[in-house]
């Protein structure tokens, strides 16, 4: 590495890129297989749940899973802990 670069080092951000990509790619892949209505269903569910509980958008997971030849729509909501809720 050259002298100039040594003094103004760019921070090593590759691991950050990898981590962000890992998450977004996994999320997009899971949505890809699903029916077209899933994103809309997810956002409408989010609105309904928000009426009662303060949750973040990423706390709601709507997935279509295959179990024993049946499609199962799985909804999982991570409710905020006491500290967050207060």
């Amino acid at each position: 590495m050259d002298l100039l670069a040594f003094f103004r080092r760019t921070p090593p951000t590759a691991s950050l890129a990898k981590e962000r990509l890992r998450i977004i790619v996994a999320q997009e892949r899971s949505a890809r297989g699903g029916p077209d209505y899933l994103p809309l269903l997810r956002s409408e569910l989010f609105e309904v749940i928000r009426k009662y509980v303060k949750v973040d958008a990423d706390a709601i997971q709507v997935n279509l899973e295959k179990e024993d030849g049946q499609d199962v729509l799985e909804l999982s909501v991570a409710l905020p802990g006491k500290a967050n809720a207060a």
Binding site: D2, L3, A14, A17, K18, V25, E28, G33
Partner: protein
């Protein structure tokens, strides 16, 4: 495994065109055919699709294969410039599809390599000038002419041109830069390859997919500024057919209209040669993943 991907096919994005679905059944039966159709695609623009198409086409043709390379970027013709035949374009891909000329009249024979032919994109029409049925006819005629490889240089994006470039592919080379938006777009393209191609729709054996990393900087990988080949491979989960180092030689080659693989002085040419050999089935280790050793002077002053 394949069942799962097939079920995703049914549900997948319904945005893309129906033209492809109404295509008459193609003549080829897959296995009895010797021609391989390869799409060079990426989603994101500016990552090196055309550079890659030109170099792979040259590399294959130099090994005696009969190769046609087709520019699918209708309205933004560029392959002719990279191949250095821009002044010899008389008829283009759209002219052939519309019957304005024969395929033979539109194919430009490369001046350097006997078995290499270029089919230019139309510069005046828009992308709607392409249709699946027309593309099929051109491909079938090339197959009948005994071409060994047809390289489809895809436009950026996921619109019609990109869709048609990949639609009849047997194999896909996904060009990717080790950079977040390029990697994400590549994954989107992989999704389309698994659902929006003729092979996927007919439930045939899936399109073979490979990654080709371009603009790779071993130095920046070493300092943790750039994702490594392994990082990208791990995220996208497909094999790597080549890693092309970042180099000024790519710009010089396009300036001169000589595909970079023909520059015998360049690491880039060696890296593309390796990719061609892998395409032909050779098992080679990846090269140019380490920073080249430089003298103390060069290291201090960035030579």
């Amino acid at each position: 495994m394949s069942l799962e991907t097939d079920s995703t096919v049914e549900a997948a994005v319904a945005d893309s065109d129906n033209a492809a679905r109404t295509t008459p059944a193609p003549l080829r039966s897959g296995d009895s055919r010797l021609t391989e159709i390869i799409v060079v695609t990426s989603g994101k623009g500016g990552v090196g699709k055309t550079t890659t198409s030109a170099s792979l086409a040259c590399g294959l043709a130099r090994r005696g294969k009969k190769v046609a390379v087709i520019d699918f970027d209708i309205g933004l013709r560029n392959l002719d410039l990279i191949m250095g035949c821009e002044r010899r374009v008389v008829y283009d891909f759209v002219n052939v599809i519309h019957g304005d000329c024969t395929l033979k009249q539109a194919l430009i024979k490369d001046k350097r390599i006997d078995t290499l032919y270029i089919l230019a994109a139309s510069q005046t029409r828009d992308k709607d000038a392409l249709n699946a049925e027309g593309v099929r006819r051109v491909l079938d005629e090339l197959i009948a002419e005994g071409f060994d490889y047809i390289i489809c240089d895809s436009p950026a994006g996921i619109e019609k041109g990109a869709h048609l470039a990949m639609y009849y592919a047997d194999r896909a080379i996904v060009v990717v830069n080790p950079e977040v938006s390029s990697v994400r777009d590549s994954d989107r393209i992989l999704g389309l390859l698994a659902s929006k191609t003729h092979r996927a729709e007919k439930g045939e054996e899936k399109v073979k997919e490979h990654l080709l990393l371009t603009r790779y900087s071993p130095r920046r990988v070493a300092t943790g500024e750039m994702m490594s080949v392994d990082d990208v491979k791990e995220i996208l989960g497909i094999d790597v057919i080549g890693v092309i180092p970042e180099s000024q030689d790519v710009l010089s080659a396009s300036n001169a209209g000589t595909p970079v693989i023909l520059n015998t002085e360049s690491d880039v040419a060696d890296a593309y040669e390796d990719a061609v050999k892998r395409l032909l089935g050779e098992d080679l280790p990846l090269r140019f993943l380490q920073e080249p050793k430089r003298g103390l002077f060069a290291r201090m002053f960035g030579g």
